[in-house]
Subunit: 384 residues, 2 copies
């Protein structure tokens, strides 16, 4: 490669980005605020490493994400390692090993970066994504599902993201019905596609003995209370009924904690979930219409019941109101150190001169300061 | 690999670890506290990605760390990417590209994880290391060096790490003397080894015309004020004298800001620095005797003068006093939500029952709570 072919030093691989001052600060402080709400509900922080041996990282609950992981050889052990594409399976691993003897319910929280080979999940092009979330291990109950939702809603409220919709699905419900319908493989595939498109005519064509049930389920979607009333009237076989009852119980438990939050239900949706085995949750901002996070019920290592929800701080802070930026005070060369310290203690940002300046006010403006410190007083800089 | 040869799921590659609740929490909160001090002095946060194309990540200031970086192929672009072994060169890249037009002095801060192929730097076996630091780009002055030291000292004080020693070196000083001495390559190598061992006899044997100067420098090490007095008396050629004068000026500027901090100087030390071109800094805890961080003066991309210091939060929080753990309050099933919210607002951690319990106090103890919420009151749990 000759010199003029050298890539621009600002060029990053697609999907990777530099976060610049205000964004980086907002996301860091905001993530800390989310985690402090998680901690106040007893969710204790764990921090698994960025990479692990691939057979532990991508086994168990992590297997569903194996195609998403970058691999590299560890020269020490000559074994393959992988960069984590998701943190939840790591937390499940910690719960089943190092915290195997910790009392249940076990409440854990985490925040960190994940890296994907290609992002086909989040509907955006980022391949490095921040995650922040909670996992509740041990109980398998609607109350446990509802605690996860209400803690996340409180955390989002703390950072000013209050206009939320929680969308609940029950991915095992439809596969459980289809399994009992004795369809040919071709009819089954056609039916899955029809359900995915929510195409009632095609469902009628390919659905065989369960066509009418599935069509009734298709119309039992939307606002939670109406959808569950419709769902209650659908005739379901025993196992499917259990899934449907649990969905209803979870909505009721969430509603008891969050009387006015928007909840929608879609009992037919079953795609896009990796290792989940029960109620699944997606939380949206009604302001940005963007998905803020997702999660749900799964089996942790050793088959332990677990429910979690992972936020994407990148999306959360696009939906959050602009943060208050502290006044930025220029300290002319020789400003008294005690005065500077007082200003910082009062919440100001101080920007100190490092050499004598001829025109302190001009220097203050050049450095983007809003104020200048004068002896024992603070002078605001009106825009030039 | 047969089933009984499967590795334990708790087994991580050497140098990678799970951080468990109290440690993870302490480091996360503490790092946030360090960054808030940096921000209060106008150091604005940037967040470069975990990986970049290897030719941008490991070019420029990053070249010195090329052997430390894990590589992987990007299937999209078919180009090699590398996991960052250090954040400072990324910050330098951002300063020279995206923030090229931002006014100088440019003050930037960062916190994040780095990954090393093998850790021969930090004197420990960790290969994933947290970094948190500041970079001050633009000015090349003793005042700028001193600001970096004093801001880091204030940040460490904020997290309770006050018993510090800043050790200053001037790595280009000795090479500059040796270059002018006309030594044979063999004598030069022998002299370098002798200086590295601080072996005055061997320095005398291999030092040729500069032997006496180097021996005088060897004795000008230790407590800063004494060492600099000794250094002032050594006869040095012009360029070496400039390095020595700058070291003296930097110590004086630090002393003016931090009158009682321990500063040591070693004008002969020149190893262990990668891309540094002037005063280098190492900060130690006098309590744990552990290195907390290091940095110094270097040339950023486009040859811009820069000085920075990178802390290792892992070491910082081993030297910090134990954190205050909030009281952990058990909420019996059916506890009023408003009471629970009040408790959290007062700084308590609440741990909610998810099902009716037969013996709430026993359940509270089992879950490690220190208190139990009763109607409108909080009952401490005496140890059983």
């Amino acid at each position: 490669m000759t010199c003029d072919q050298l890539p621009s030093p600002a060029l990053l691989p697609p999907g990777f980005a530099d976060r610049l001052p205000l964004d980086a600060q907002t996301e860091a402080n905001g993530t800390q605020a989310l985690l402090s709400v998680f901690a106040s509900h007893g969710y204790e922080r764990v921090e698994p490493p960025l990479l692990e041996f691939e057979d532990t990282l991508l086994g168990g609950a992590g297997a569903a994400l194996a195609e998403q992981a970058f691999r590299m050889m560890d020269p020490d052990t000559r074994r393959m390692m992988a960069l984590r594409p998701d943190i939840t399976p790591q937390v499940a691993r910690i719960a089943a090993t190092r915290l195997r003897d910790a009392p249940r319910p076990l409440r854990l929280s985490y925040a960190g970066q994940v890296v994907l080979v290609s992002n086909d999940i989040a509907g955006e092009d980022a391949r490095q994504i921040a995650q922040a979330g909670i996992e509740l291990l041990g109980p398998d109950s609607a109350e446990a599902d509802a605690e996860v939702v209400s803690v996340v809603a409180e955390a989002l409220g703390r950072v000013g993201v209050a206009d939320l919709s929680f969308d609940l699905t029950m991915p095992p419900l439809v596969p459980c019905l289809i399994e009992q319908a004795g369809l040919t493989p071709a009819a089954r595939t056609a039916l899955m596609h029809a359900l995915d498109r929510k195409d009632a005519a095609a469902v009628a064509e390919h659905g065989g003995v369960i066509a009418q049930t599935l069509i009734a389920l298709l119309s039992a979607a939307g606002d939670a209370e109406q959808a569950l009333a419709a769902l209650g009237k659908v005739h379901l076989p025993e196992q499917a009924r259990q899934f449907s009852d649990r969905l209803t119980a979870t909505v009721a438990a969430i509603r008891a904690r969050l009387p006015s939050i928007q909840i929608t239900v879609d009992p037919v949706e079953f795609r896009g979930w990796k290792y989940h085995t029960g109620v699944c949750l997606t939380v949206y901002s009604l302001t940005t219409q963007e998905e803020l996070g997702r999660g749900g019920r799964y089996r942790s290592n050793d088959n332990e019941p677990a429910c979690g929800l992972t936020l994407r701080p990148g999306a959360v802070f696009r939906a959050a109101p602009p943060v208050h930026v502290a006044p930025r005070v220029y300290l002319p060369f020789g400003t008294d150190a005690a005065q500077a310290r007082r200003l910082r203690e009062e919440g100001h940002i101080t920007v100190a001169a490092l050499a004598a300046e001829s025109d302190a006010e001009r220097e203050a403006r050049r450095l983007g300061c809003t104020h200048i410190a004068r002896r024992d007083t603070l002078v605001p800089l009106v825009s030039a």
